[in-house]
């Protein structure tokens, strides 16, 4: 029923459609860039802006970082929840790559392959990349995930609805839903320690100093010097996440 109004005047129909389209376009101009262009700028206020450096050439795969992280941050013991873990890469002579991370590397690693077949092997510690344009913050529907002025991405567990969208959005697999609180959980770079001037747990225990953190704004910081002296790289640079986790000696096999 009721199609005569339109039928009688096609012009009217076109006018209406144009008016609606116009309204939609106009309303979309109100805050277009905030909605569509997602680029977190470096915060304007003073104070530190933290980044992390991991020197792969120094990592011996002891797994103390992953273990200390679990203890310090009340991360569930099951091998499915990690804020920080270590991967072992084995590149064979024929070019194939094998990656393992038994229990996140907490119990250490064994190299079972015959030495003759191995082209190279190395360890890659993984943790939150503290992205400056973090995809997880972008997608959180309620703003429970946020970035602190120091550049650390945190989760407000009182506010998180547990939708898991951030877990899907993190390209690095650094988030999980905590089985007890049923909210998103992730590395905080030990924010509770950092704000008191104490190093994150994983960095304090690292026996070779493979992990460092520092203020990216301070040209004298350990991290900035490390970046000056090494040809660092971030993971998945093509995704433009603004990762602030800078790896030295990162091999092309690592994803």
């Amino acid at each position: 029923m009721g199609n005569k109004g339109i039928k009688s005047s096609r012009r009217k129909f076109v006018k209406k459609t144009a008016a609606i389209a116009g309204t939609l376009v106009a309303s979309s101009l109100i805050e277009p860039f905030k909605l569509l262009v997602y680029a977190t700028e470096e915060p304007k206020d003073e104070g530190p802006w933290w980044g992390v450096g991991i020197d792969i050439s120094k990592c011996i795969g002891c797994g103390l970082c992953a273990k200390s992280c679990k203890i310090e941050n009340n991360v569930p013991e099951d091998p499915f929840f990690f804020r920080s873990w270590v991967e072992q890469y084995t590149v064979y002579n024929d070019g194939t790559v094998k990656v393992v991370s038994p229990n996140g590397g907490i119990d250490g690693f064994n190299q079972e392959e015959d030495k003759e077949n191995i082209f190279k092997t190395f360890f890659v510690p993984k943790m939150c990349n503290q992205c400056a344009k973090s995809p997880c913050t972008q997608v959180c529907p309620v703003g429970a995930t946020f970035e602190t002025p120091e550049g650390i991405t945190l989760v407000d567990s009182e506010h998180c609805i547990g939708c898991s969208y951030c877990v899907q959005a993190c390209p690095y697999g650094c988030r999980y839903i905590h089985p007890e609180s049923i909210v998103a959980d992730k590395c905080t770079l030990c924010y509770h320690r950092l704000t008191k001037g104490i190093a994150p747990a994983c960095m304090e225990v690292c026996p070779t100093g493979a992990r460092i953190y520092g203020n990216l704004r301070d040209p004298e910081s350990e991290l900035v010097k490390y970046m000056k002296n090494n040809s660092y790289q971030v993971l998945k640079p093509n995704l433009n996440t603004g990762s602030k986790l800078y790896y030295n000696a990162l091999s092309a096999e690592v994803i």
Binding site: G2, I6, L24, F82, S101, V139, C140, V142, I161, P171
Partner: protein, 387 residues
């Protein structure tokens, strides 16, 4: 749990975050958008032959829309906090906009259009009925009991405007659901600019198929003859929508295969392994190719009415099944491979529990129950000028 892993996956990736309830969410939302667009065909595009299904399509859209967010909310870790999406939305999040798009669609588009369409009948029914029902219909008129020709003219006029607003809204509703997945750059199986368009056209396909089936079922239950020109026309539109949907999805896959980016190897293993049956079998062969052949034959050959009905019935069921598996392949498929591109995890659908098969079936049956109630409360066949 570790035994379900092949190759290497990031340790946090073992359990799938989104299960069958999140498969249902785009499925049900798609049925809403599709059913509404089906109704709009009659009203805005003046396909008068579809008139017998107009109200049915609208009520179907409403019944499914009411149920659409329920599986989504029940899946949340904290369903009690769901309202936060409305009060502290993160405007940069695709998911945050859901509440607003949903409310806009429910309140401004569907409820208003149905109200303008039924207002006269509510007034008449409130006069005819006695007891409680009299009051129910009286409340539904919202106090607007003027059914003079001038007032009815306004109903039609305003209803038309709402339908015109409704079409882009239906596009928005489901295109946006596609965007929820398509905008996740971390996931190469989801991250394609085609996703909203594909979701939209698959929504149209499923919505048209659903209304077609419901029309056949309702006619059967009411023991009235099916209006064959109407049914044939629905079949024709289903055929067109299927062709467009198939072409878009093929284009997307061809593009992926030809570009063969970094993720190509793992996705190739995914579709030729874990998704083989649900993608090539359920979605493409049974959900698209066979229905297209069936509907294609109906467009060119002269076939007896009874056979046509059977072909359309089977086609409708296959299409609805196929689109369900399309959602399955997107939602579940996108979580089976690791973002490290080095391995896979598995998904096993349980039978019981809030995320189990039985619960999913219950969520899927709920909109049909709501629709049955709506058809009882406001039967399209008892409207003035109907039939």
């Amino acid at each position: 749990m570790l035994s379900q892993v092949e190759g290497y996956i990031y340790p946090n990736e073992i359990a799938l975050q989104w299960g069958i309830l999140i498969v249902l969410y785009p499925y049900i939302t798609g049925l809403v958008a599709g059913a509404f667009i089906m109704a709009s065909l009659e009203r805005v595009f003046n396909v008068t032959v579809l008139k017998p299904t107009y109200e049915l399509a609208l009520l179907t859209a409403l019944a499914f829309l009411i149920c659409a967010p329920l599986p989504l909310i029940s899946h949340l870790g904290h369903p009690g906090r769901a309202y936060e999406i409305m009060i502290t939305p993160n405007k940069g999040s695709a998911m945050a906009i859901f509440g607003f798009v949903y409310l806009w669609y429910l309140m401004v588009v569907l409820l208003l259009e149905i109200w303008f369409d039924y207002r006269r009948d509510f007034v008449i029914w409130s006069r005819e009925k006695t007891g409680l029902m009299k009051w129910v219909y009286r409340v539904l008129t919202l106090g607007m009991s003027d059914i003079s020709p001038a007032a009815l003219k306004w109903d039609i006029k305003l209803g038309n405007i709402i339908t015109v607003v409704g079409i882009p809204s239906a596009f928005l509703l489901h295109g946006y659901v596609g965007f929820i997945f398509g905008s996740i750059k971390a996931n190469p199986w989801w991250s394609t600019v085609m996703m909203p368009v594909i979701f939209l056209f698959s929504a149209m396909v499923s919505g048209i198929a659903l209304v077609m089936l419901l029309y056949m079922i309702v006619s059967y239950l009411r023991k009235v003859k099916i209006d064959m020109p109407c049914l044939d026309t629905i079949g024709k539109f289903l055929f067109y929508a299927l062709i467009i949907d198939f072409s878009l999805e093929s284009l997307d896959q061809i593009h992926r295969i030809y570009e063969a980016e970094e993720s190509f190897d793992i996705l190739h293993m995914l579709v030729s392994g874990k998704l083989y049956i649900t993608l090539f079998g359920m979605q493409i062969l049974f959900g698209m190719v066979i229905p297209m052949i069936g509907l294609g034959i109906l467009q060119v050959a002269k076939i007896k009415e009874n056979i046509r009905k059977i072909i359309l019935l089977i086609t409708g069921i296959l299409v609805l099944n196929g689109i369900f598996f399309m959602r399955w392949n997107v939602v579940i498929g996108g979580q089976l491979f690791s973002k490290s591109f080095h391995g896979f995890t598995s998904f096993k659908l349980g039978l019981i529990g809030t995320e189990g098969l039985f619960m999913a079936i219950a969520w899927l049956l709920l909109p049909f129950a709501v629709l049955a109630f709506l058809l009882w409360l406001m039967p399209p066949w008892k409207k003035m000028n109907s039939e």
